[in-house]
Assembly symmetry: C2
Homo-oligomer: 336 residues x 2
């Protein structure tokens, strides 16, 4: 009998999630009930937002309950279906959870075609990550041609995509990332105009150097001191997109607020938060436009693939330690 | 020979401004050069923003230079004119500075009619204060009928006006103010639906009590813990208007940032700063609409008038100590 391996959240992490906050257990592979499908999970998306899902309390999605399989977006193949919309052999993405086999009622599944693009791409640029970059930059940031766009967490999955879209829209684009390798990647591989290396440079001074006239759109994935440095360099009528705050997610104290927020007043600027789900009805159009840019060679993507379902807690920490370049994807099992 | 009394900024205040940061001096009453007018100042507007003007560094207006007459908006009578647009006897408002007699090239002066409304009213609801409330609430906050609007510094000049405009627009309005007298004033005199007394109540709990369904528009004049409490109670798609941050203006450390700013993400909310000058070309229309509401008895105003040019530094501190109810105006001299 085939066994399912599951990673369950058993403790609310304090600070960085530890292996002991999770329990790895096995159970018989489940069978789909009427209306359900069974998915063999091949890849899991590792996202900074997952840290927030582990906390108790109200947020944009309910917290993962203790004892539940950890929530995750995944990509895989349907191996049994009692849902007329899907059949065995279909490839899908959706909320599978951190496990080898997942049941789903199909409601949040999207069919994908691994012949058009490798499966992990659907967790990255053609999935939620790409949608976050697209709508966060374009709808919330509203960059205009010739404006200066600065992206934090720029070598990460969302940041690297948002920066390239800003280039496509005719903006000057500066990325903030940690280390020379990442900064070189942004400039040489992705066509960013400049980069600020927060590990080797004062970010405020770096932004002054790279954007002497200030920032029109700041797309923030990081928060903390980096957000403050960017706020201090805003231009009039700037837009700050709050997409994430990875520097704060493991804080055990109350997170640090942006001390320079009064720059919003001085510069008549706005700071706006976003959650990608709000654009769900526009995903298809956006994905089509992104695919077009990819075909024209204007939009690149990079997946950083690591292996091992059992190592989920440790792999996830790579995000908070800045050890990923591009989209961090956990490979669960080879596609059959 | 008539003497002019002037209050000059001679030191950059650290923390609360002190009398010793200013110098009171006399000089001969000046004479207007070609194109200039001489104004006898009757009233000065005391505003929290003045504290910012005393600091060095870039802001939305240049800082007052050391040795200069302290900047202030004033109302008074033209007593000599070499500017064809004005004649002796005209009443005006404009940037007069903290002094008995002011020269002006006329560019920032507005003629007002003391027969239609008392002079101090033109520094309050019919002046910059009223405009700030009007455009901050309506253009930046964009309240819709039936929404819940919360105002901090609600018993102050801008706050009390913004709250009444929100009532006129059909909103539920809750004010945050210090002390029972101010809260009663908001509810009984100005028609606010409820008030939170930050001196005698936990603000977060008070907002939970007064707006159990959360806040759609938060109009902030205060910053600090009060902004944080409001952020924690935002509804989806809320708008936060950053009009001021009086709790932070005398801070000697870097001001406290809004620790709960990630509520902007969770609630897809936005926080936007404003400076009233941006609506200068629309002042006249707004003032007309406000005057209409005043005639209909829907919009009340209250000036808190104190006396004595020489006591300017001490009078200004009343704002930071929450000792004013309504618009704080310094009477310089009786109208002749």
């Amino acid at each position: 009998m085939t066994q399912n391996t599951q990673v369950k959240l058993v403790k609310r992490p304090v600070g960085e999630p530890k292996a002991s906050d999770f329990e790895i257990s096995t159970a018989p592979m489940p069978e789909p009930a009427e209306g359900e499908v069974l998915i063999e999970v091949n890849y899991l998306s590792l996202d900074p937002a997952m840290r927030g899902w582990m906390n108790e309390g109200k947020s944009y999605v309910p917290p993962v309950q203790l004892g539940e399989v950890m929530r995750a977006l995944g990509a895989g193949k349907i191996i049994a279906s009692k849902n007329p919309k899907f059949q065995a052999g279909d490839y899908v993405t959706g909320t599978t959870g951190v496990q080898r086999y997942a049941l789903s009622d199909g409601k949040d599944l999207t069919k994908v075609d691994p012949a058009l693009a490798p499966l992990p791409t659907y967790l990255n640029i053609l999935g939620m990550t790409g949608m976050t970059a697209y709508f966060g930059l374009l709808d919330v940031g509203q960059p205009k041609e010739g404006e200066t766009v600065v992206i934090s967490g720029a070598a990460g999955a969302v940041g690297s995509t948002a920066g390239q879209i800003a280039k496509i829209k005719g903006c000057k684009v500066v990325g903030i990332a940690g280390g020379r390798e990442k900064c070189d990647f942004l400039i040489k591989e992705l066509g960013f105009d400049d980069a600020v290396d927060y590990k080797n440079e004062n970010v405020y001074q770096g932004l002054k150097r790279a954007c002497p006239e200030g920032i029109d759109v700041f797309f923030d994935n990081v928060g903390g001191d980096i957000l403050d440095a960017a706020l201090a360099r805003l231009r009039m009528h700037a837009r700050v997109v709050i997409c994430g705050a990875i520097s704060q997610y493991n804080a055990t104290e109350k997170p640090q607020g942006p001390r320079n927020y009064m720059s919003l007043l001085v510069n008549r600027a706005r700071m706006q938060g976003m959650v990608v789900f709000d654009w769900m009805d526009q995903y298809a159009n956006a994905a089509r436009e992104m695919a077009g840019w990819m075909q024209q060679g204007k939009l690149k993507h990079k997946e950083h693939i690591v292996e091992g379902l059992e190592d989920f807690p440790e792999r996830l920490l790579m995000l908070f330690r800045g050890e990923n370049l591009g989209k961090l994807v956990l490979k669960v099992a080879d596609e059959q």
